[in-house]
């Protein structure tokens, strides 16, 4: 199976919409390029570990950045 089964696809879609809606885009746009890219990547994918790597931050530090950017974790 290549495509995500419906239940998961729906959950992913819902999560992405919530992250996009809650995100403080003004805060995100003001960040240095690396953090900005990582935050946008997280909003689109929800993949915190890769986003933290992109940001060059430890996982928990990136989680704190998400809070400051008002981007919720949706799981």
């Amino acid at each position: 199976m290549k495509e995500m089964p419906g239940k998961w696809a729906e959950l992913e879609r819902e999560a992405r919409e919530i992250r996009r809606r809650y995100a403080d885009w003004e805060f995100i746009e003001k960040q240095p390029p690396r953090l900005r890219a990582a935050l946008k990547y997280y909003v689109e994918t929800g993949d915190i570990r890769r986003a933290a790597k992109l940001a060059g931050l430890k996982l928990e530090d990136f989680r704190e950045l998400l809070r400051r950017a008002n981007v919720p974790v949706v799981v």
Partner: protein
Amino acid sequence: MSAARPTAIADTCFLIDWARWRRRDVIFKVFRLVFVPESVLDEITSENTIAWIANWLAEGSLALFTETRDIVEEARRLVERSREIPWIRAVDLPEAICLCAGKRWGYVVLTENRGALMAVEAIEEYRGVKVWRALEVIREALRTGVIAVSDPLSVFREYEEDTRHIFPRRDLESVVRELEGDAGKVG
């Protein structure tokens, strides 16, 4: 008399949100013991989370899980297998270690990593592993009376407020309905 409390193993994503919740200590009334893999501990950086973990390690309700070579090898195989299934979100080594320990010793795996949730559905040999998010831990605390309130939804809302973690609507509604049904049966 309630059934014996299970043992759990927690990954980083779970702990860093859970440790911010005002009722975080209820986890030790739901579980007999919660293991924290050393690789997970390495990812914890905030004073709040470290202090909470240190306190409960001292109390003996949390315990360090030292990864053995065979568990790490099994976890690496699981990571590779998860990469071969195109629709699964990435499972990384810390979560994979938790899943392998869950499979081997029957621990409940505590994670907020959707890849881990997907993996136990997609990979046959991990299908029996019990994977809980904060949603299920809170449900269990409410179901067993560890948290006694008349409005279960308010407890989930507290968690969302304290941690900036949002539960998927459908999952939350389903759990609240289930809890209210249980309360109805008891009452």
